[in-house]
Amino acid sequence: MDNQVDQTSKIIKTIKIDIDKCNGCRACEVICSAFHAMPKYSSNNPARSRIRVIREPLRDVYVPVLAGEYTVSECAGRDKYTIDGKQYEECAFCRASCPSREEFKEPDSGLPLKCDMCEGEDEPLCVKWCLVDALTIEERQEKVEDLEQSLALEDLEIGLESLADKFGMDKIMDVLVRMNEKE
């Protein structure tokens, strides 16, 4: 029964990350930024990518991280993890677009970026382009209720929300009205 897809559950695709297999080449960043360019593939810039390889070659730290939710403030804890004898900052695994770091923000506007699993493609392109299999796709079943709760905000909404956090809703409304008048 578990494998059956019924009305209450759905196949969810997740990207599985094997940091031991990462060769640090950043092909994932390249293809991600190309795919999300407008028009599609018309430009390329890893600084716009929604996946980042947190990379410290001399310490053998290679962690591909996919952009997750935007957060208005940085978290209090800055724990350190030691795994296999190597020390990692907690931030190395964190998916948040957060004020405390450069990752997952548009370089021009500073607006947050979020992975959308390359909507419309058979599989996320970072996975397709990772020939060393540090990134693979894994499917699992989840109940629909959970799914609804975790439904992502659209790009526009995420952007607006972050702007509202930064400048306040009133200011945003003012600007929108003004822009509207200009047109």
Partner: protein
């Protein structure tokens, strides 16, 4: 809008501290593509032959290839161009890694350095912000150490750093520019960077690279990835493991070193050890490598894992690729543990892994043969390994005998005299070569060694199998899916090639076939060097994913330049001829175009002359190797022809050009005398 390239060069005059962002001419891209091609054009235009390597007028050009920073897999090379202190010719060195794409994302296709800074500085390029900063605190620091310090100091963990070590600061003629896991090593370009007073170049870029025809370009890129996967599953049968797959020779991955250790020469490229590779040594060396290696790593946007991070107990971590794995080991008749340990130091010092061990072995040979004496090596340890560490330190500090050895075997031998030149026996155009001594002349390799202006065989050879397969059916099978050939005739050349008998080396492939093969091999390398594509996915391995049939499409879809095979072939010929013109103007002639005298035991002087004649003719060069007026005009290089006429290198009457070349030789000799001292 410009596509694939940014359309801007960053020009820094270090004497005046002037920084300028210069818009480039898109017409030059059409004619010379980018990378090496446009580097050569700048060098021709701005560095006349009177300018010496350590003159402020010499330029040090870091060119990102035309397609660097686009999604084309493996396209990440920086082509570094300058005048070499060692060869006095155009230095031709490249590095993979991450630096070139970062420069493109910062908004520049090239960084052109001129002049000299009085104080040691580093350059910090962050998009439109460019600074020349004091580097006095970095003096004497290692190249990797410098990169780590600067990234921390500038709080730029994602910046890419190209740096020199002590060897570059002290202008060692075989000093490299190191960049994390890659280096531009050949020709002493690190010495020129040191002479200009630049310790490091830090780059961080967060801007876009545009693609002319996005969907077409992506289809091409995906095609390359598919072919790489196909080749991973279909290694070439019948060749040694390091040549069966794609990428640079997989020295970090493959443990079986029977072929290198038993066929390459040990010491000062002298001794072949035919039964060296025993089970015990295999186990010991495999253990050494497995214990040292923490990870196999790649350059920017490339799935091939040609490099490795190495951590040896008690030493700082460093990164390595390819054949430096064995050069120190074999130069010193030692083991792999020693080789990897001393390479760590040499990498921090920033030294070419091909030249450095040979220079040290050369010095010890001179000592054994009483040309140098114990007095030349005060306090040198008695043990073999200790002597190599001693020499390494003396050389990079230019202390005592190290000051002479720092100029490389050719110049050191001249200065030492007493017949020392006999021991500087493994050079081409004054530059140390891979330690190979073989039996029967191979016509293909003869031509590549003789005429290749990159002066490093691994960056000249490729595509065509190094030797015939024993059975015809295997050769035929190889040809079945050999899509990379520019012309069907190459398949027949290979099918008819036998190990023995009439159709074997040195007389088969015949002169015409040999010229065709070498011309193809060279063309592919030159295209790679303009586009920034690593030879490991293109011109070096058998059956690579990039070739003459898909490259024009990449250029057209990526850079938006109308391109077909014919136009691309012509462009490659154009800047290849320009590279030759630069060197001809600096005095290079036919007499310089020869492999080391002892490279093969069995030589065929008459055949060798015919090969050179045939190749020069195919290239449109005269008997002295000088491009003819017709060739130059036909390629749109009439400005070169005019210059050659004005300098008397060519005469209106072609038949006189032989005489003119004597004058060229005089120029070279005179310059050699003038530039005797290391401080010149």
């Amino acid at each position: 809008m410009r596509f694939a390239e940014t359309g801007f060069n960053l020009e820094i005059d270090l004497t005046r501290g002037n920084i300028e962002k210069i818009a480039t001419n898109s017409r030059d891209t059409e004619l010379y593509l980018g990378g090496l091609g446009t580097n050569a054009k700048i060098l021709w235009d701005r560095v006349p032959p009177e300018v010496e390597a350590f003159s402020p007028e010499n330029l040090l050009i870091f060119g990102a290839g035309l397609l660097c920073g686009t999604p084309a897999t493996g396209c990440n090379r920086t082509i570094v161009t300058t005048i070499s202190p060692q060869t006095k010719l155009m230095a031709f060195s490249m590095m993979g890694g991450f630096w070139a794409p970062e420069l493109k994302y910062a908004g520049y296709d090239k960084l052109v350095l001129s002049g000299k800074s009085e104080k040691l500085v580093y350059l910090y390029i962050h998009n439109d912000s460019v600074e020349i900063c004091d580097a006095s605190h970095l003096k004497g620091k290692g190249s990797i150490e410098t990169a780590t310090l600067l990234k921390k100091e500038l709080n730029q963990p994602k910046a890419q750093v190209a740096a020199i070590g002590m060897a570059g600061e002290n202008r060692v003629y075989y000093a490299s520019i190191e960049q994390g896991r890659s280096s531009a090593s050949r020709g002493g370009i690190g010495a020129v960077m040191g002479d200009k007073g630049v310790k490091a170049i830090v780059v961080r870029g967060t801007m876009d690279i545009n693609i002319a025809k996005p969907l077409e370009y992506m289809e091409l890129c995906n095609g390359v990835l598919e072919y790489i996967k196909y080749r991973e599953d279909h290694p070439i049968p019948g060749v040694m493991p390091i040549l069966a797959g794609l990428g640079s020779p997989q020295e970090m991955k493959v443990h079986d070193e029977k072929w290198h250790t038993e066929n390459f020469m040990w010491g000062n490229s002298r001794t072949r050890r035919k039964d060296f590779w025993t089970k015990e040594i295999e186990k010991e060396w495999t253990d050494t490598m497995v214990n040292a290696r923490t990870r196999l790593i790649s350059c920017f946007n490339c799935p091939m894992e040609c490099g490795a991070t190495l951590s040896l107990p008690g030493l700082p971590t460093y990164m390595m690729k390819c054949f430096t794995k064995l050069t120190y080991t074999m130069g010193a008749f030692s083991d792999l543990d020693f080789g990897l340990r001393i390479a760590q130091k040499a990498t921090e010092y920033g030294l070419d892994g091909f030249s450095a061990p040979q220079v040290m072995a050369f010095a010890l040979e001179l000592l054994e043969n009483d040309i140098l004496t114990d007095d030349d090596f005060p306090d040198m340890p008695a043990d073999n390994e200790g002597r190599f560490y001693y020499l390494l330190d003396k050389i990079v500090r230019r202390e005592g005998i190290g000051d002479i050895l720092a100029d490389g075997t050719h110049w050191a031998a001249k200065k030492i005299g007493k017949g020392a030149s006999k021991y500087a026996h493994n050079n081409i155009k004054k530059h140390e070569q891979l330690p190979l001594k073989l039996s029967m002349l191979n016509p293909i390799y003869f031509l590549m060694y003789a005429t290749g202006e990159k002066m490093n065989i691994t960056q000249i050879e490729g595509q065509f199998p190094q030797a015939p397969f024993p059975k015809k059916e295997h050769r035929e099978k190889f040809c079945e899916d050999w899509i990379q050939v520019p012309h069907e005739k190459f398949k027949q050349y290979f099918i008819d090639w036998e190990l023995r008998g009439e159709n074997s080396i040195p007389f088969y492939p015949n002169v015409e076939m040999t010229c065709d093969i070498v011309d193809w091999q060279e063309m592919m390398h030159y295209i790679d060097d303009a586009l920034g594509q690593c030879a490991g996915l293109s011109s070096f391995p058998l059956k690579p994913p990039y070739h003459i049939h898909n490259y024009p499409k990449f250029i057209e879809a990526g850079a938006g330049i109308d391109m077909d095979e014919e136009k691309l072939t012509r462009a490659a010929k154009r800047y290849r001829t320009l590279v030759r013109a630069i060197n001809i103007r600096r005095g290079m002639r036919r007499k310089d175009e020869k492999p080391p005298a002892n490279h093969w035991k069995k030589r065929f002087p008459e055949l060798e002359e015919k090969l050179l004649d045939g190749y020069y003719k195919l290239k449109g060069w005269n008997d002295e190797g000088i491009p003819t007026k017709e060739t130059l005009d036909e390629l749109g290089l009439d400005f070169v022809g005019k210059d050659f006429l004005a300098r008397g290198i060519l005469k209106e009457d072609e038949s006189l050009s032989g005489k003119a070349c004597t004058k060229g030789q005089d120029i070279v000799e005179e310059k050699e005398n003038k530039s005797g001292g290391p401080g010149s």
